[in-house]
Amino acid sequence: MNPASGQDAPLLVAQGLTRLYGTRIGCADVELEVYPGEILAVVGESGSGKSTLLSLLSTELAPSSGRISYRGTDGVMRDLAAFTEAERRLLLRTQWGFVRQNPEQGLRMAVSAGGNVGERLMAVGRRHYGDIRSEATDWLGRVEIAADRIDDDPRSFSGGMRQRLQIARNLVTRPRLVFMDEPTGGLDVSVQARLLDLIRSLVSDLGAAVIIVTHDLAVARLLSHRIMVMRHGSVIEHGLTDQVLDDPAHPYTQLLVASVLAA
């Protein structure tokens, strides 16, 4: 039997999720479920609605219609609309993580690397300075940032280092659910490979659920278990990642897969 007994209950469920910008459709009637320990990739081109979907799921944006439910640590499924603003903010600081494409939006640039990581620990109630610092040091090590950079602020870091710091900041509280928006976008290919390897192993160690938005099918293939393909705000195809990419059924998915340049 699988030791993790909560694995068969979804962590997050979206039903009929729709967001309109005036009369323009941001995302339309999206249904999804994500389970503990699985990585769900949302792929599509610019304007497909994938980033709108991520903003809705993370409650940064209110839906025009539809609902999102989240299973709390008590095992009870609740409608996120019923959470207070303070409860939602607490979720984002503790049980959830959000890794953004641009690390400057996900980090506090004038705070030291150690402070960026330690801040999230304080949000979950940790108060002992020595413990916080040693755990921050440990996490910097896990994302391959040298311990002697702990007091430097991220303005002195390269793009790849900043992204790794953002990952440490998000994962240090052992979140149950992590949103990622193009986490490898804008990075050199060699840096990307390192980051993908890191994300994969950290996420599998933590058993977190991840919803990752990317336009890069190779990233989706390497990281995700399941995939959703979006176009014009709607999900046009979803399923096992390797099945959708190796045997795409929808004309648009066939076009996307056929358009990837082979190295």
Binding site: P3, Y35, E38, A193, R194, L196, D197, R200, L222, H225, R226, G239, L240, D242, Q243, D246, D247, A249, H250, P251, Q254, L255, A258
Partner: protein, 246 residues
Amino acid sequence: MNSLAPLPRAVADAAPEVLGVSGLGKSFVLHLRGGMELPVVSGAAFSVRAGTCVALGGPSGAGKSSILKMVFGNYRIDRGHILIRDGDETVDMATASPRRILRLRRERIGYVSQFLRVIPRLSTLDVVSEPLRLDGVPAPEALRRAQDLLARLNLPERLWDLPPATFSGGEQQRVNIARGFIAPRALLLLDEPTASLDARNSAAVIDLINARKAEGTAMLGIFHDEAVRAAVADAVVDVTRFGDAA
């Protein structure tokens, strides 16, 4: 030599059916080619029992690899059933949810594909030992067994700590075989496991396959090399029978 003779026919016939394929049909619809339909198989039917190896036969393009990919859930199934035994349950790959297929792959099915596709930076030992670690085997034990298997497949020890991306075709193939064989699985799918191997290494793979059969693993494979096929297969299913004309 530790290659084992196939199970006596009577024993093999009594062994439980691990894989049952019936009425299997598939075609690709190429939307970028004006919706052109490319038939792959039609009406395929066969079964594989525990401890036996069934080879898919027929010329290139007959649909052998596609059948293997449908059994693994990598290709969609248009018609028919692929029943895989999972303990007391039977799962139909034609209708199973993605999460159910992932669980089957994790626990029951091993797949040795022709090409190795892994995360770029992982060392060969990590690539090979990963299925065992995911099964919950402690890392030192998983690494030790990966070393044993790589040694058995004659992969030079100096390569073990390197990522396999830069290896030769034959070396990558052996990494792939080691990864597919390291963890116990009820069903193993083998897509030309010896295609780029020399005689000595082919023999090592034949020994591995026969040892695994003796432990009760059911196998479905594609073997172009006649000698390899003769050494491991208990039956050959001619895939051309399942062509569009069927």
